[in-house]
């Protein structure tokens, strides 16, 4: 192959890859941008580009008590599920991360399985189980269901953080006379804290956004935001949903920025 041919060949490869990458990145970003723009429409439809601009749909959002009620429920359930996931998940991660026992491996697969199994099947199973034991659907059943599907994120991130912990640090601490609890509080916990926080963050977001489990475990009295939005959209295309969506997009970006600053979320998720 002559030099010029090779240059052309290398160039064609780079151009094709770069162009596809940029197009794909645009594809990823544009839907969110479109929603934010449409939410400022002065019209009654989701026409793009909007005929004029106004903040009327945000005012409308202020009065949409059904959406606010569902949002409050979603936040409450997400906070409880995240709290439970941290307590149960970190303890379990400590137990399984440094153990070579077969039990630890099996437990690890068990705790990770909600990530792969179709959550809708689990939602249905949980509903039937709760009705069998006579527990009516409530915020409690939602918290239990959400904890099952959110705890894997905490376990996974904590296990990853523990894997990078130098065992010699624990040994040094023990040699210097520290008790196990003291070592845990002063050495282990500070070092794995970023891992726990980023796991908890993803657990919170996935609980707040959960559909398959909420679909079966909620009722009118315990309406959840994603389900409320979905049912609204099935009925009519309401611009209020666009305003709500932009609020959620902006909130997500803000939370992501905070997490990036405090725990280096992006490095954590790309290994």
């Amino acid at each position: 192959m002559s030099g010029r041919q090779r240059n052309w060949e290398a160039l064609s490869f780079q151009i094709v890859m770069t162009v596809i990458a940029i197009l794909a990145l645009i594809l990823i970003v544009s839907p969110s941008l479109v929603v934010v723009i449409v939410s400022f429409t002065s019209g009654f439809s989701l026409k793009f580009p909007p005929p004029g601009y106004s903040t009327r749909w945000y005012v409308e959002l202020w009065n949409a008590w059904q959406l606010q009620f569902a949002a409050r429920n979603s936040v409450v359930v997400a906070l409880w599920s995240t709290g439970l996931s941290i307590v149960l998940g970190v303890a379990a991660a400590l137990a399984i991360s440094r153990s070579k026992a077969l039990t630890a491996k099996l437990l690890d697969s068990l705790f990770m399985s909600p990530l792969v199994l179709p959550a809708l099947a689990f939602g249905l199973a949980a509903l039937m189980f709760f009705s069998l034991i006579g527990l009516p659907v409530s915020l409690l059943t939602l918290v239990i269901g959400h904890t099952i599907v959110c705890v894997p994120y905490v376990v996974r991130n904590t296990v990853a953080a523990l894997a990078q912990l130098e065992p010699t640090l624990l040994e040094s601490s023990a040699i210097l006379g520290a008790s196990r609890l003291y070592t845990f509080r002063r050495i282990v916990l500070p070092l794995i804290r970023p891992g726990i926080i980023s796991g908890a963050f993803i657990a919170f977001m996935s609980s707040f956004d959960n559909v398959p489990v909420s679909l079966f475990l909620r009722d009118a009295a315990t309406d959840m935001l994603p389900i409320r939005m979905w049912q609204d959209l099935e009925g009519k295309l309401d611009v209020t949903i666009a305003a709500l969506s932009s609020v959620l997009i902006i909130a997500t970006i803000a939370l992501m920025a905070i997490m990036e600053r405090t725990t280096g979320l992006s490095k954590r998720l790309t290994g």
Binding site: T18, A91, I96, R98, P118
Partner: protein, 293 residues
């Protein structure tokens, strides 16, 4: 090294590991609220009547001999394959670009990729309704350019659904790919080039095979997510296209046919597990390939 050895002699037990008992609380929660419900689901699916009194494989026979049910299963599995392929073709170049960029651009790319992953799935799906709708961007651009007279019907079509699902699930493909491509020794590409292989050949013969673990991991996650994406399937797919999650939901919620819904769940669950097992088998082979270098 010496201090480590002394520690093992003096400390009672191994100080570097924690008691397995710490996993007990979560283990119990999973046993009661995860394993038991799934066991009950299986139990219920093995009954022929809705009251669950007559044992039998009736529900499974009903599903597996019903052309309609089989078509739903088939189209769900096919949809997953199409979305996964789209994600791979579009996602790989993103991961490639990421590994060649400076750290500022890397952070930007990762943020762009992560944003949809963390944004509510209803919001992301809603965005596609706005884009694909009758008055959406694509139709208004095409109309203003005079290319079409009447708006095209894009929402509620298979193509629209694949585009929406591919966008929604893209991060699940890109993240493992970034990790996998980052682990490839850059010297290997240089070696390939200095031995006379062109960029395309180096890509297909060196980079692609070596990033196979990431491809497999990404495909597994994307596939599993795409076929269970209830919201996107129902809102962008619409009523004409029925997939397993909606089928399951209809049987359970609207028709209250719990044993049949349970059987659908179990069949769906095993279909997903079979696909995951297939991918992880391919993954083990790929790792063997990667280690051989």
């Amino acid at each position: 090294m010496k201090s480590a050895a002394t520690a093992r002699m003096t400390a009672p037990g191994d100080v570097t590991s924690f008691s397995l008992g710490l996993a007990l609380p979560l283990g119990l929660v999973f046993a009661i609220f995860f394993v038991l419900p799934l066991a009950q689901l299986l139990y219920l699916s093995l009954h022929n009547d809705t009251a669950a009194t007559v044992w039998g494989l009736g529900q499974y026979i009903k599903f597996l001999t019903d052309p309609f049910s089989l078509a739903v299963l088939g189209s769900t599995l096919l949809l997953g394959a199409e979305v996964t392929l789209a994600c791979l073709v579009l996602g790989y170049p993103i991961a490639w670009l990421y590994q060649r960029s400076g750290s500022r651009l890397q952070t930007l790319i990762i943020m762009i990729v992560l944003l949809p992953l963390l944004t509510s799935v209803v919001v992301r799906t809603f965005a596609w309704i706005v884009i694909l709708g009758r008055q959406g961007i694509i139709n208004s651009v095409l109309q203003s350019m005079g290319l079409i007279g009447t708006p095209l019907r894009m929402i509620y079509t298979q193509g629209g659904l694949i585009a929406a699902l591919a966008q929604v699930q893209m991060p699940l493909m890109v993240l493992p790919l970034i990790t996998a491509i980052g682990r490839i020794d850059p010297n290997l590409s240089d070696a390939s080039a200095s031995l006379g292989a062109g960029s395309w050949r180096t890509f297909f013969k060196v980079m692609l095979p070596l990033s196979m673990p990431g491809i497999i991991a990404g495909c597994t996650l994307t596939y599993a997510a795409a076929i269970t994406a209830f919201i996107t399937q129902s809102l962008v797919g619409g009523g004409q296209m029925l997939f397993m999650p909606m089928y399951l939901y209809q049987q359970a919620s609207t028709l209250q046919n719990w044993p049949f819904a349970a059987a659908i769940s179990i069949i769906f669950l095993f279909a997903v597990l079979a696909i995951v097992a297939l991918f992880s088998m391919l993954g083990r082979r790929a790792r063997g390939y990667g280690d051989a270098r």
